[in-house]
Each structure stands twice: as C-alpha cells, then as structure tokens.
C-alpha cells in the first residue's frame, strides 16, 4: 500500500454513463492483484471526509484503470479529470480473488461491478484459461463489449435490447442448462447487492463455490476505522479477535466466499 500521485492518461465515457480512466501509477501497478482497489481523492480541495474507493479494472505496464459510473459529487469530479491531471490515490488495497487450480471460472459483473471482474478476466485470458464472462446491465447502451456466446461472453439486459433479456441469473441458468462436462465451476461476481444475493442463492442451490467482491462505505480503506464491517455467517478464525463476528471489507475483503457472509 502506497500513497501515489498518479497522472491521468485518458478518461472518457465508454458507454452510457460508464467512464473509464487510465492512470499512470507505477508503484501501485507493480503491486496490484485482481480484486484490489484504490482509494481516490477526487479533487485537491475535496470537501468531504472520505476518499472514493474504486476497483482496479486493468493493470498493464505502469498503468491501472478504473471503470466508474457518475453517481454523485465525487464521481462527477473524477469524470472531470483531464489527460495529464495529477491525482492522489492510495493502493493497492484489499485482498484478491482465490487461487484457481482446475476450477472453471464463471465471471459475472453487474453494472460498474464489472471493473474487478475485467481485471480478473485479463489474467485468465493472458494465461489462456477458459472461462465464461457474464455482464449484466439495464439496457444495451450501458454495454461496451459485444455479446459473443461462442467465446463465452454473455451479455444480459433488463429490457432485452442486447443479449439475453433478464438478469445475469438468466445467463447463469443458460450455462447450467447447457449440457457440459465441467463439474468444478466457481463463480466470481461483483455488482449490486440484490444481484449478488441472487447469485449467492443460485450458487448455493447448485452447490457451486462462489466468491463476490463487496462494496461498503469506507472511511480509511486500510483497516483502521473499522467502518466497513461485514457480518459473517460464522465466526472467523483469521484476523484479530475483534474480526471474528464481523470482517472488514477493506482488508479481509472486498472478496469474500458467499457462504462466509450473512448478506452480500
């Protein structure tokens, strides 16, 4: 974890209200692993008390990227970043996805939850590991990739404008209703809570291992404020004694196995 002044390489809208910023941040880039995030000061005189956490969406050479939606003041300022802007970020923060041995990855991203999923997919792609990627959105204009089922890339939209009509669960069902030899599926997902809870249920029904990257309010991002607590399903052995009943999303997470935690 370092506090780095990154410089903005590019920052533009990649789909309707979805933005991507590429940042030159050599230190963080060197250390980062999929699933980790950075904590951003949106502008120099940022009047609020908390930085804005954003998952790392890609990491190449010295550049990391974030994919974000403009939802409030912080993300509004982030979308104003210009090429060459200097921005104050802390990272990499948090844990990473589990080691994959021979498990078959189904990656699912809902909305901007796609960010930490894309970084993981990059890893699988570069290592030539076969996997499925499901991306969910409300409508077609929010997608920035092509629906290509043959390559394992399934898009869903609530309104059916692109890909499968319905939620990502419909895409999951499609995969599981297609005859296949694969038995050791493992889901890695990130997105809005209702989606993750539905996936958690699905995984439990089908007895599939399932990991999710969670979002909570975070004041510090590195285990000090204890604000980002996540209620566990059963007490944890790991971590300090005060992290048995609750885990901290910023250091014990953001990635959790769904059966560890009460709710997504």
């Amino acid at each position: 974890m370092v506090n780095e002044v990154a410089s903005v390489i590019s920052n533009y809208e990649i789909a309707s209200n979805y933005w991507q910023a590429i940042l030159k941040a050599p230190e963080i880039s060197r250390m980062a692993k999929p699933g980790q995030f950075i904590n951003i000061l949106p502008i120099k005189n940022w009047p609020k008390m908390m930085r804005r956490p954003m998952s790392i969406a890609s990491n190449e050479h010295e550049n990391i990227s974030i994919i974000y939606k403009v939802v409030g003041e912080g993300t509004q300022y982030i979308s104003d970043w210009k090429e060459g802007s200097k921005v104050d970020i802390i990272g990499p923060l948090g844990n990473t996805w589990p080691e994959f041995n021979d498990e078959y990855p189904i990656l699912i991203g809902g909305g901007v939850g796609i960010a930490p999923i894309l970084y993981l997919q990059d890893k699988f792609s570069s290592e030539g590991i076969k996997h499925h990627l499901i991306m969910g959105a409300k409508t077609g204009s929010e997608h920035f990739l092509e629906h290509s089922p043959d390559d394992g890339l399934l898009l869903t939209t609530d309104d059916g404008t692109i890909g499968i009509k319905g939620t990502v669960i419909r895409a999951l069902e499609a995969i599981f209703h297609t005859p296949s030899d694969i038995r050791n599926y493992r889901i890695c997902a990130c997105g809005p809570s209702p989606m993750l809870n539905a996936i958690k249920q699905f995984a439990s029904d089908y007895s599939i291992e399932c990991f999710v990257a969670l979002e909570t309010m975070m004041a510090c991002g590195f285990g000090i404020c204890q604000g980002c607590s996540i209620e566990r399903e059963q007490n944890s052995d790991a971590g300090s004694s005060y992290r048995k009943k609750y885990s901290l999303a910023c250091i014990d997470g953001p990635v959790f196995q769904t059966n560890e935690i009460k709710n997504c």
């Binding site: 506090n3 609020k48 404020c225 005060y242």
Partner: protein, 304 residues
C-alpha cells in the same frame, strides 16, 4: 526546535498526536507514513473484554464530517498486552493507551492489567464517553461526581500520565474538567465526538445501525475549540485539543485557545500523512508568529 514540547517530564517531538480510533495501533499505516515522526499516538480504545463492535452500517459521511458507531471493537486488554504492547514498545514516539469501560471496576481492572505488563507507554487516555450500563445508558462523561470518582480511583493505580478524555455532549464541560482535575488527572483531552444522526430516506433506516453515533471532522472544529477554551479557563492542568483538526492553522487555533498538545483524528482517513504535513506546516507558521517555541502560543488568545 520550534515545535518540540516539554510537558510533565515528557518530551513530545511535536504537539501533533493522532487520535484514538483513527490510527489503529500504529502498525497498519507502516507503508504510508513514519509514525515515529509524530508527537505521539493514542491507541484505539481497549476494554476489559474483547468487543466485536456494532452491526453495520457503522459509518456515514456528513457535510465536512462523518458519523461513526464502531462500538469500541477491540481485542480486549489481555490480548492487547500480548500482541500490541510489544509492538508499541518499539515505537520511538509517545504512546498513550486509550481505555474505555462501562463501570469504574472495568476501567480500573483494565488499567491494572496494563500496569502489570512492561510497557514503554507514557500514559493513559481515559475515554469516558461510553454508554454506562449501570446508570441506565447515560454516560460517565456527563456526570461530574462519577468523573471525579473514576479519576481518583484510577489515579491510585498508575504513576504514568492519566488523561481524561471528555465528551462535548454536556451542558457545562467545565464542571467535568474540574472534576477530573480534582480527581487527580494529569491532563484533560477534549473533545470526543458530538452526538449526531443521519437517515437514509430510501430505506427509511438510520445511516448507522445504532441510530445515534458520533460526529467528527472539520464540521465540529468550532465546537471543539469552544470546549477547549472553556476548559482552559476552568482548570490548570495541560490540555490536549481534539476535533476537526486538518491544518497547521487549526493547530495554532487550539494552542492559542489553551491546548498544549492536539490530536488529529478523522482527517487521517482522508490523508494518512496529514499529521506529518501539519507538523511541517507548523515551523513556518511559528516563524510568522514570531515565537521561538510553539508552546509560547498557549492561551495567547486576546479578547476584544
């Protein structure tokens, strides 16, 4: 050494300490800053028994501040002594151990256990703003008589610095400060968080699981400063000013109002190296203000 402070036989490298609950035990930030350059660190409140803390949500943002109800999550004094104390002993800055409790016994037992371990810590900061089960949910920090009893009881068990940390949620903080002084406190620190609340109008629930929580950050700085100045006029022990500090100018305000030292809390979250940045900013300010030591500014506020 414009910013070195000599106080009660202790030397503080600078008047800037970091506040309890906002800097962990000093080890978590290792990658970000050199803790040893701070004037000191107040560790997260420790209690007699380990505590899991409150259910989420525990924090929320407010205008120029934040609300929290962490619920004193901590590993309990026994484990603290075994896992944290040895690390803290290695620090080359002043360590002050913050203790919380729910009754006088609690506090005293916690203190005794700490005293029975080898610790290099300079002293204790006693957090008397926790809900007190015995008096029906009211807090120690709002009752002068209880504050004096607690202080004098603890005084019997330690020769290290005994610092009472006061709550601003009272009609007259001076009364509590005088009680702490009468009980034998070496110093007063103020303020802890201000009671606040927020509502998520969409799910119609409070933003904190516990409904009420503690407001901190620059929003409360004027409140903190007023309390410090009132305490300064009421007692003669040294004072540690806390509340919304984020700049070197803020520190000077607290010192002019009567503080000897200050603590930086919430601002650490936004900028973990804020303590050191402020320290750097103090030197030129002392020069502008034409003092040879920052301590010369203590209580130099002039009325109109």
């Amino acid at each position: 050494m414009l910013t070195k402070i000599e106080l009660l036989n202790h030397t503080f490298k600078s008047p800037i300490l970091v506040a309890s609950g906002t800097f962990g035990y000093g080890d978590e930030v290792a990658g970000l800053i050199d803790v040893n350059q701070l004037g000191g660190i107040i560790t997260k409140s420790v209690t007699l028994e380990p505590r899991e803390g409150n259910a989420p949500p525990r924090i929320a943002e407010t205008s120029a501040g934040m609300l929290n109800s962490i619920g004193l999550a901590n590993l309990g004094v026994e484990k603290y002594c075994h896992t944290k104390l040895p690390q803290l002993n290695k620090l080359e800055t002043k360590v002050i151990i913050n203790i919380a409790g729910f009754g006088i016994d609690d506090y005293v037992k916690t203190l005794q256990i700490l005293e029975n371990h080898d610790g290099n810590h300079a002293g204790y900061e006693i957090n008397i703003s926790c809900p007190n089960v015995k008096s029906g949910g009211m807090q120690f920090g709002v009752d002068a008589v209880m504050t004096e009893s607690l202080t004098s009881e603890m005084r019997k068990h330690t020769n290290k610095l005994l610092i009472l940390k006061l709550s601003p949620n009272v009609t007259k903080i001076e009364d509590i400060a005088m009680a702490a002084e009468a009980g034998g406190a070496d110093m007063i620190s103020a303020i802890n968080t201000v009671v606040g609340m927020g509502i998520n109008i969409h799910n119609r629930k409070p933003v904190l699981n516990t409904v009420f929580g503690g407001l901190s950050g620059p929003a409360i700085k004027p409140i903190a400063l007023a309390n410090v100045h009132k305490i300064y006029k009421a007692v003669s022990v040294p004072i540690i000013g806390i509340g919304g500090i984020s700049t070197a100018e803020d520190v000077i305000e607290f010192i002019m109002a009567g503080a000897d030292l200050v603590q930086v809390g919430t601002s650490n979250f936004k900028d973990p190296s804020i303590g050191l940045k402020i320290t750097k900013g103090l030197e030129p300010l002392c020069k502008t203000l034409e003092v040879t030591n920052i301590h010369d500014l203590k209580g130099t506020l002039e009325y109109y």
